[in-house]
């Protein structure tokens, strides 16, 4: 088994070294990102695909986009979310595999189980990506990078897949770190390395900095995170508006956002995009049945019950509408959710106009905020 590449940023972390006093700097956050997840699962399960460019996605003749591309396909310029047609043109020899989300969900659950061996503070971002807070972990391991290495090792030995991990004092830095040495990377950012780690990175590494903001910043001579950090929120405000102080904070490497476990969502939903516009009512109802099944299963798994059912309908001309209905009881089973969804569908023009997308959500969970237990030690943060 090949050794995982470990990249400690700048210098190796010294075990037991003094950390800066600020509590927030002492968190140990891991961002785990599975490498080319869907494509790797397909290559794992079908030996003939190994070593070949694999593109997971819908039919190139339809509206499909690339859900995942193996590293072999990425070398040819294939990227996620690219139209399948473009992908196949860039890499004609690629093997196209239709996505099997049921399978990926199963693998994702197995990965999640591995995470929970170490901590229950897991924030799933997608099937192939999650944040973990391992400041205090079940294995009592004092070093985040060691936990990350153990998780990577378990994913490799148990699931025959590779993951890249970033270990840092916050989510923002951990996410950047996990992306630096893909695939199978492990990048550690110690609290004292934060400034150096960020200084030369382009400003686009900051979430929310897209093309527009990047151009705005470039016009005032800011290309790197270091340059952004050297400015000030008032200087930035005329160019980036309200977000100036947030961007500036990120440039300092500051991000206090906690790892949110999936316990308190506002709405639980699922949606389906059809390959071709659907005009057939039974076919729409079938889709709503599948969606209500999916949503009910997740509600039950998370022990949530909601009283508002919402459907989302996108017509062929892309006009998108939602219809909602409150119910007297809190629901978490498929049948009543499906029934309400069908009634809601009748209140749209789906039958006449056709649909290209259908979505279903349940919201209106009991107000959990009201029941929050206060903590004796909450006032001074982490204990121990």
């Amino acid at each position: 088994m090949p050794d995982t590449k470990v990249s400690h940023f700048v210098t190796d972390p010294v075990e037991g070294a003094e950390s800066p006093p600020a509590k927030a700097q002492n968190r140990k956050i891991i961002h785990i990102d599975m490498d080319a997840f869907y494509a790797s699962v397909e290559q794992r399960d079908t030996p003939s695909l190994r070593g070949r460019p694999v593109v997971v996605g819908g039919d190139p003749e339809g509206r499909g986009v690339v859900a995942a591309a193996s590293y072999e396909a990425r070398k040819r310029g294939v990227r996620s979310a690219m139209p399948m047609r473009t992908a196949m043109r860039l890499c004609p020899q690629a093997v196209r595999v239709a996505p099997d989300f049921g399978k990926y969900r199963g693998v994702s659950r197995a990965i999640n189980d591995i995470f929970h061996e170490y901590t229950d503070l897991v924030e799933p971002v997608a099937l192939d990506e999650a944040y973990l807070d391992v400041t205090y972990n079940k294995a009592d391991i004092p070093f985040g990078h060691r936990v990350a290495r153990m998780i990577k090792g378990e994913i490799r030995s148990e699931l025959k897949l590779t993951a890249s991990a970033g270990v840092a004092p916050n989510k923002f830095l951990a996410k950047i770190a996990s992306d630096l040495r893909k695939p199978d990377g492990l990048v550690v950012v110690m609290p004292h390395q934060v400034t150096e780690f960020l200084v030369d990175l382009p400003v686009e590494v900051i979430p929310g900095v897209g093309k527009v903001t990047r151009e705005q910043l470039r016009r005032v001579g800011i290309d790197t995170v270091g340059q952004l950090a050297a400015s000030s929120p008032p200087q930035l405000a005329p160019h980036v508006g309200r977000r100036s102080s947030e961007l500036w904070q990120r440039a300092q490497g500051i991000d206090d956002s906690p790892v949110h476990t999936e316990r308190d969502p506002k709405q639980l939903s699922a949606e389906t995009t059809f390959g071709d516009d659907v005009h057939d009512l039974p076919q729409m109802q079938q889709a709503l049945e599948d969606l209500s099944q999916d949503v009910a299963m997740r509600l039950q798994r998370q022990q949530l019950r909601g009283r508002v059912v919402t459907i989302k309908v996108r017509y062929p001309d892309f006009e998108t509408i939602t219809r909602s209905q409150s119910h007297g009881l809190y629901l978490d089973t498929q049948q009543p959710i499906q029934q309400i969804a069908n009634q809601l569908l009748k209140r749209t023009h789906a039958a006449d106009r056709g649909v290209r997308l259908l979505g279903l959500g349940v919201s209106g969970f009991p107000d959990m905020q009201r029941g929050v237990q206060l903590d004796l030690f909450g006032g001074f943060g982490a204990v121990g």
Binding site: T119, D120, L121, T135, Y136, N137, K138, D140, R305, G328, L329, Y330, P366, D367, M368, Q369, R370, G371, V372, Q373, L374, D375, L376, F377, G378, G379, A382, V383, G384
Partner: protein, 385 residues
């Protein structure tokens, strides 16, 4: 190895050590009990690596020896054995139990079990490097007191593994006092008793709750109380009569709990537990199954308890008289935490000192013995809008 032992003695010994046998042992040998026969004594030991128990029973030893045997099976056979002598011997790597059985010892029985050599069995030290707390001179520490302390505090230990120090009971002993503290952040228990000033040594350690439970159990049957404790860096060894209990310690330091005890709670409710507890229990039937939240509205001379459940679609309200004369106050608690404290406090009346809807309540028994202090903190739930 060859010896004769009274069935009741052997059962007492096995029953004592059996709690240290893990239900899912980390290694096969840990499902065994170590038998060590020497000098008219049979020593039994068991361990799950975190907790080890050793005890001695009287036996007539013909041939000394050491061997390990499956603990649960040996215990089952012994439990079913009539009250008579039992011979234990090692024959060709098998342990053989034999003796007279049946009415007037008319029958005979012979049971043989596969035995494992003792080499793989983890050594339980007779002693530890560390501070010896000798309770011999000032008299042993009263076993009933320790049991009461464990019973009234350890339930508040945290089960949340993200705060490891809170997963244990803080046990402190000096010449002047002994105390136990447990908290999970939502509630806290402290029980403190003044001691007579005899120098027994000083200790401050975090005990796992399983060890507390075992210690309480040992002291329950003991005549002399706690005779000795050896406190090492990572373990502590307790001596109760012929039995030794060795436990791993949870690494500290413990939280600075004294800092969170509110000092400015200026509103006092005094109320009979047999009025308050049943009311909380009834009202909580209609509390949310997510939060178990029960609201408490305090007014001159009375206490109103309410709960509502959106899931069930129900509401409950009770008004009971209580001794309260401060300004009106509304505060919400988790009914389970509240009831647990009321059940453990062990008095007829309870005194609850409050400040506002976000400060911990200080809950004390209506009467305390001289030199004894028991109190609980109960954190409210965030008040509803």
């Amino acid at each position: 190895m060859k010896l004769t032992v009274d069935r009741n003695e052997l059962w007492r010994g096995l029953n004592t050590v059996l709690d240290a046998v893990a239900s899912k042992p980390a290694q096969p040998v840990l499902a065994n009990v170590l038998l060590d026969a020497a000098e008219s004594q049979l020593t039994l030991s068991a361990t799950d690596l975190d907790l080890s128990i050793r005890t001695r029973v009287t036996a007539a030893v013909d041939v000394p020896g050491r061997v390990t045997v499956p603990a649960k099976t040996l215990a089952e056979i012994t439990r079913e054995w009539p009250e008579a002598d039992l011979q234990i011997s090692l024959e060709d790597g098998r342990i053989v139990l034999s003796g007279h059985l049946g009415a007037a010892n008319s029958g005979e029985g012979r049971y043989s079990l596969a035995a494992t050599p003792p080499d793989e069995f983890p050594d339980m030290p007779e002693s530890l490097d560390g501070i010896e707390l000798s309770f011999g001179e000032g008299g042993p520490i009263d076993g009933d007191l320790i049991r009461a302390m464990i019973d009234r505090t350890s339930f508040a230990v945290s089960k949340d593994e993200t705060r490891p120090v809170l997963n244990g009971v803080l046990w402190r002993i000096t010449s002047d006092f002994m105390s136990m503290v447990a908290t999970d952040g939502s509630r806290m228990a402290e029980f403190r008793r003044n001691l007579d000033g005899t120098d027994r040594g000083t200790a401050e350690v975090i005990l796992p709750p399983q060890a507390c439970q075992q210690l309480g159990k040992l002291l329950d049957g003991a005549q002399d109380g706690l005779a000795k404790a050896l406190v090492g860096d990572s373990q502590v060894l307790f001596q109760v009569g012929e039995t030794q209990l060795l436990t791993r310690l949870i690494e500290g330091p413990y939280v600075d709990y004294e800092q969170v005890v509110p000092r400015e709670n200026d509103k006092r409710l005094t109320i009979a537990i047999d009025q308050l507890l049943p009311a909380v229990r009834r009202v909580s039937i209609l509390s949310s199954s997510y939060t178990h939240q029960v609201r408490m509205m305090l007014q001159d001379g009375s206490l109103e308890l309410t709960a509502s459940s959106q899931e069930i679609g129900g509401e409950a309200r009770e008004v009971i008289p209580g001794d309260y004369s401060s300004e009106a106050l509304e505060v919400a608690y988790n009914a389970h935490y509240f009831m647990e404290i009321l059940r453990k406090i062990g008095s007829d009346e309870v005194i609850i000192d409050l400040r506002d809807s976000v400060t911990a309540a200080v809950v004390r028994p209506g009467e305390q013995l001289d030199g004894e202090e028991l109190f609980y903190l109960l954190m409210p739930m965030r008040p509803s809008a």
